[in-house]
Amino acid sequence: MYKKLALFSFFAAVSLMAESEIDTLKTQLQEQQTMTQLLLKKVNDLEKKDAQKDKETLEGAFLQNTSASFSQNAYLPDIALVLNMSAVGRDLSNTQYENFAIPGFIDATDAELPFNKDRGFNLNYAEVAMHSVVDPYFEVYTIFHLKRTEFEIGEAYVLTTSLPEGLRIKAGKFKSSFGRINEKHQHSWNFDEQPIIYKALFGPDAISDAGIQLQWVAPTDTYTMVGVEAMQGTNERSFGDIEENNLYTAYVKSSLDITDDLSILGGVSLAHGKTATKEQSDVYGVDLTLREQLGSYSALIWQSEFLQRNKGTGEKQSGLYTEVVYQYNKNYSGGVRYEKITKNQTDLSIYSGIDTDNLQKYTAMLQYKPFAFSRLRLEYSYDATKIIDGQRTDINTVILSLNIAAGAHGAHAY
């Protein structure tokens, strides 16, 4: 292009100068020729440079690392790592504590104690949680618990993302959405210790089993969700029939905002199954949470739950917890909890001579979060629900726990 233009102007100049004043024109011509040559040289240089550049990028491409051609890094799941550990003080020896009984619910030597069991130091668990989109229809979640001597699949399930009409199916092993805190993992509880009624009716993992869940969110202004689950029912405390899948749950949850800052969430739940001895076992749950938001980082939360188990044999047992948590700012929060076994109509003959009434527990905690991903919590509890070595024994416990959540960003809970 440059070349052509230069040549054209050269010829034009030559034809113009044909007749007159040859000498002056000759000098002019010479000037023009040098200019043209200069121009041509410039154009050639430019072209060479371009070619050089092309060659360089080409060579660069050849030199480039091709080992990443099949890299799948972009498809790696989100991974989060949770560590939970504690230092515990208790006015009871470890052996005595391990063999506690809660009359009518847990017999001595029957309790499972995966968290904060020992006086002194405890590494409760390391949890590895992974999440990934499978395809346009499914997401997958796994939560592995790594304990000192065991590997446990806490949860592993698929979740649909493309069902119509507000429906969603979960399948795999998962924590049931029964009640308010059943589906929450230990590190997302407001207190380090599990509510007594949950521990008494379901054990430390609560209702967690292989199964399938269907949830439906109603297309209404007021949030309303209905869910049903069919689960294997391997929970030894309430649903332990090992011969067949025996556990079915159903629940309704609803929430509304009373003001912009005051919201309320309530739920009614039912779990229907069979015990290890094939007795019918029904657990009813009612829960209520009020949350007043006082600022971006400040809130007052009042949460309560009541659970009752009715067995085919006519046994009726129930209990509740109610707790208030005050989140002062980003860093500090505190809370108190009161718990009570409200009904215990069951065979208590093995505890004859022991006072089995007034089973209650009081807990208080102070929490400091240096940052969103780490948490220090000091918890004190006065537990008057236990029988140790055949005697009603009240237990004082102090727990200082540290919880770390690293990796993929966990979400803030309601």
Binding site: T161, P164, A411
Partner: protein, 293 residues
């Protein structure tokens, strides 16, 4: 009688045809309303009086997400702490990430302040760059164009309406920007201190330098050591204004102000975060007024 029947039928069908759009924050909502006009019903999920990084995932937000035809998010990681579980539990396939009814506005914005290295040792940094682009009034044009395109995509029968609304709005907005930029060119504030890097897009647009942040690291509460350092910085640079958002504690800013003679001004970060910022125009006007006057 027939007429009434017809009228109510038309009314009913037009009501039925209204697109339900959820936006995570209020400025996105205001722009959506401009472009969508009567054809859309906009719900803003995150209250603008609170920290946009820490919206409380109230269950009532689920009922909004459940019925949405389109969800417009700010993106850039701003919603990562509260929105994903809500999307998961709202059971609405239309607004799942990757679906047609999910729009991440940050993909259309030239993000600034992209960190060269990412670690939580630096606090809760924004790994994808600064997501607080709504503070720059020029970004409104990008937002409006993208929203118009998205609306036409999910509701093609009203493409012309959206195009018409867009043109009308852009004309109005460009005229507004002309005046606004002129006003800003007379802004005498040249250096400021802010709490979080919340106003960087605005400051960059109008050549105002931010000399530092009151939070020592993103998401970390002010420390006395860092605050003392800032007093030095403010004095050295002759900073006159300390930009305070509406949701953080003012104590640190007021302490620095008292030691340096700088003034603490509350600056909205979103439409509606202060009373005087109820509309798009008023939001930017209030921002300009508080920073410049």
């Amino acid at each position: 009688m027939k007429k009434i029947l017809w009228a109510s039928l038309v009314l009913a069908s037009s009501l039925f045809a209204t697109l339900k759009i959820d936006t995570t924050y209020a400025t996105l909502g205001a722009v959506t309303q401009e472009v969508g006009g009567d054809l859309v019903e906009v719900h803003v999920l995150g209250s603008s009086k609170y920290d946009p990084h820490f919206i409380v995932p109230k269950p009532s937000l689920l009922s909004k997400l459940r019925r949405a035809d389109l969800l417009i998010i700010n993106g850039g990681g701003l919603e990562v702490g509260w929105l994903p579980p809500l999307i998961r539990s709202a059971n609405n396939r239309k607004i799942q990430p990757g679906a047609e009814g999910f729009l991440d506005m940050s993909h259309f914005i030239k993000m600034i302040d992209k960190p060269t290295s990412v670690s939580r040792a630096f606090g809760d940094i924004h790994a994808q760059g600064n997501p607080h682009y709504v503070t720059d009034p020029h970004q409104v044009i990008v937002m409006a164009k993208v929203i118009a395109k998205k609306l036409a995509q999910i509701d093609p029968s009203h493409t012309q309406n959206y195009q018409h609304n867009l043109e009308k709005f852009l004309k109005k907005w460009e005229a507004y920007l002309k005046k606004f930029d002129l006003k800003m060119s007379q802004c005498t504030t040249k250096k400021v201190l802010q709490y979080h890097e919340l106003y960087n897009y605005f400051l960059k647009r109008y050549g105002i330098v931010s000399v530092g942040n009151i939070e020592p690291l993103p998401g970390i509460t002010p420390s006395s050591k860092h605050t003392l350092e800032l007093i030095g910085t403010v004095k050295e640079n002759g900073v006159k204004k300390i930009l305070q958002d509406v949701y953080h504690d003012k104590k640190a800013a007021e302490f620095i102000a008292a030691k340096t003679g700088a003034k603490v001004v509350v600056v909205p970060h979103d439409v509606g975060s202060v009373k005087a910022a109820d509309t798009l125009e008023d939001f930017y006007n209030t921002m300009a007024k508080s920073i410049c006057n």
